[in-house]
Amino acid sequence: MTPSKPVPAYLGEVEKRTKRDPSRTKRGKTQWPQTIVTLTAILALVVFALWGGLNPVLLAASIMVAAMPLLLAALGEMVVEKSGVLNLGVEGMMIIGAIAGFAIAVETGSPLLGLVAAAVAGAALSLIFGVLTQVLLANQVATGLALTLFGLGLSALIGQPYSGIKPPAFPRLNIPFLSDLPVIGPILLNHDLLMYITFALLALTWWFLYRARHGLILRSVGENHDAAHALGYNVIVIRLMAIAFGGACAGLGGAALSLIRVPQWTEGMTAGAGWIALAIVVFGAWRPGRVALGAFLFGGVTVLQLNLQAAGLTPLWLLVLGLLLFAVNSTAKSLAESTPAHTRAMIPLWIATLIMGMIATTYPISIQTQYLSMTPYLCTIVVLVVMSADRLRANLNAPASLGRTFHRTG
């Protein structure tokens, strides 16, 4: 089928279905409570950080850097899942990208070549997954796990001579005057090149998925592969391309860790970032903008859990934060949907938050650092539960053919 033909009736159906999706059309009604809760979480953590004497500008800049690997990996995985494939090997592709980017950057002295190598390595590894699941019809969950186990082992093998080396630094964006602006400069205009690549990729992905014809075809493959096949689209090739794109993005995300965020190579350095990226895709309901929001939220959590200990965050304050989020959620929901249950819960929750806040200020109990290090993982679980609890919406957002094997007959 040539691209110049008009959009077939079935694809129009996909477009309509997406438009009819309640979380899209009734945006003002159903979506804002969740956004408000997310923003409150970010705001509360920022307020706490300021109160603890952390430099807000540096903090915002480092959250951007921490979010970058997650955003890259999650963006790639989102496209893969939009095409109906569940690749659980993000962690493996990220760590292969991390070591490939690091090794090439060190050997050649050029961080840019490192980025290219990371993307190529991630894509190459993902194509093993692609061939196994698309051509040989292997189980996607098992193959994704194999990819992670293999990637972790292979990266450790390649990485042995590289531990304890400093990689070559990236050129930073430095626009005269603009990069020296007080607040905006350090936060937005003084980053490594990869940050801007990431944002370009984010915009491009959005445009491709929702404004380009090929993006529509990709989504139709993810919604109903049999129908797309019947229309003459090559499901397997489209999915393989999506998988390779996801692998390249995950590889870049890994390089963002080893070349920019840390920057160093240590065995197993992704420490679950690939899995968190998978959760961010669920959190972002398979939409680029909200996936980005999720990446920043998790980037914020990882940076803050390191800094807040210094700023005197005690476990009691974490309880305060939890209660606050519940209170904001109830208030927003009772305003948006006027659910009686939320209205009734609203006032006790706010009172509990206040009381807990008073307790926390009077008793500064400190805990071992390990407990605070658990926060990104626990947050992931909480986010997954919250996002999946509304089953109707979760089902509407997820691509309908996600994780199903496509077997071409004839």
Binding site: A146, L149, G151, G153, Q368, Q370, M374, I381, V385, R391
Partner: protein, 354 residues
């Protein structure tokens, strides 16, 4: 063009042959890997796959490594058959070691034959409880059990590290982050003098026989197979998805917890942050290599244990890096999944209709 056509009829023979084929291909690919590292490939394969079988001490070590792998993999295989993916066995292993080990430390001054059974129960319950977290979140709110159980691995690792450098730390240990050595009646009895082969190996064998019966001769196993192959039919037949999810996750958690306790009270003998050795993840490979069947898993666990023992020997005789062995194990799973296509499908040459 080549097309795949589902095989009908009995494929038992092929089902048993494909893992053997996968191991053979992995050996070849492994030989290529070692050759690319500049080592003699024939020598490396001989050291990894043959030498451990010739030496009596290595043979006993083989059992020590295979037991936890088999125990975890048997638990996982039930869920994998039913389409419930517990990826966090590593976390349940750690929590089992923690709860069982904490029981041993609580009765540090008291000895008695009741202590080990009590520790075993505590370990299994610990693993069970840890696995019930993803089970409840899945059945109550539909949260993905793969991601939740995996996140709990990191939480369990941090919890172990926090506890052995906090409440469970050895008071006479110069602040090292490790617990006291378990006393004699909290350590697993040794089967063969002079080795580390402990009684947990026998228990593992017993459990695998019980699991075989449960899977192939009991209605529980039938429901699991039904849920895996035809979920809708299963729900019409009255198989409750909620109960089965909880049962599969709980069972694998309990067995992983038991394995964790055996590791802590057996070869290690105390709680240390380095206790988790990745058995929970390697057990996934073992489960697939054993065709998700308890008896197959016992054999598969021996093969994978061989790569561990032989890999250790190869590390100091040939200076093959430790990571090469995990690459090897990862390749094994890849080849297994790839070769599997032959067991499930007939490859046919078909001319495309014009």
């Amino acid at each position: 063009m080549l097309t795949l056509e589902p095989r009908t009829g009995n494929t038992h023979l092929l089902q048993t042959l494909t893992p053997v084929l996968a191991v053979a291909i992995t050996m070849l690919a492994g030989a290529a890997l070692f050759a690319s590292l500049g080592k003699d490939p024939v020598e490396a394969i001989r050291i990894i796959f043959l030498d451990p079988l010739l030496d009596p001490y290595s043979r006993s070590e083989l059992l020590v490594k295979a037991a936890p792998l088999a125990l975890i993999a048997i638990g996982l295989s039930f869920g994998f058959r039913a389409g419930i993916w517990n990826i966090g066995a590593e976390g349940q292993f750690i929590i089992g070691a923690l709860t069982g080990g904490a029981t041993a430390l609580a009765f540090y001054d008291i000895s008695g034959v009741w202590l080990l059974p009590l520790m075993a129960i505590a370990g299994a319950l610990g693993g069970f409880a840890w696995a019930m977290i993803p089970a409840i979140l899945k059945t109550r709110w539909g949260a993905n059990e793969i991601l939740v159980s995996l996140m709990l691995v990191y939480v369990a690792e941090l919890l172990l590290s926090a506890l052995v450098s906090g409440p469970l730390r050895d008071p006479d240990g110069f602040n090292f982050p490790e617990s006291r050595q378990f006393h004699d009646s909290a350590t697993l009895p040794i089967l063969l003098a002079g080795t580390r082969a402990h009684i947990g190996i026998l228990i593992t064998l017993g459990i695998s026989v019980a699991a075989y019966v449960a899977l192939h001769r009991h209605v529980f196993g039938y429901h699991i197979k039904l849920m895996g192959s035809a979920p809708r039919a299963a729900s019409f037949a009255g198989v409750s998805t909620t109960t089965m999810t909880a049962a599969c996750l709980g069972l694998s958690g309990a067995l992983a917890g038991l394995a964790g306790l055996f590791e802590a009270a057996g070869p290690v003998g105390q709680l240390v942050p380095s206790l988790p050795a990745g058995y929970g993840f390697t057990a996934i490979i073992v489960a697939f290599l054993g065709r998700l069947d308890p008896l197959g898993i016992v054999l598969a666990s021996l093969v994978v244990a061989l790569t561990y023992i032989g890999g250790e020997t190869a590390q100091f005789t040939l200076q093959i890096p430790a990571a090469a062995i995990s690459v090897f194990q990862g390749m094994l799973l890849f080849f297994l999944l790839a070769v599997d296509v032959l067991a499930r499908f007939r490859v046919k040459y078909m001319r495309r209709a014009q």
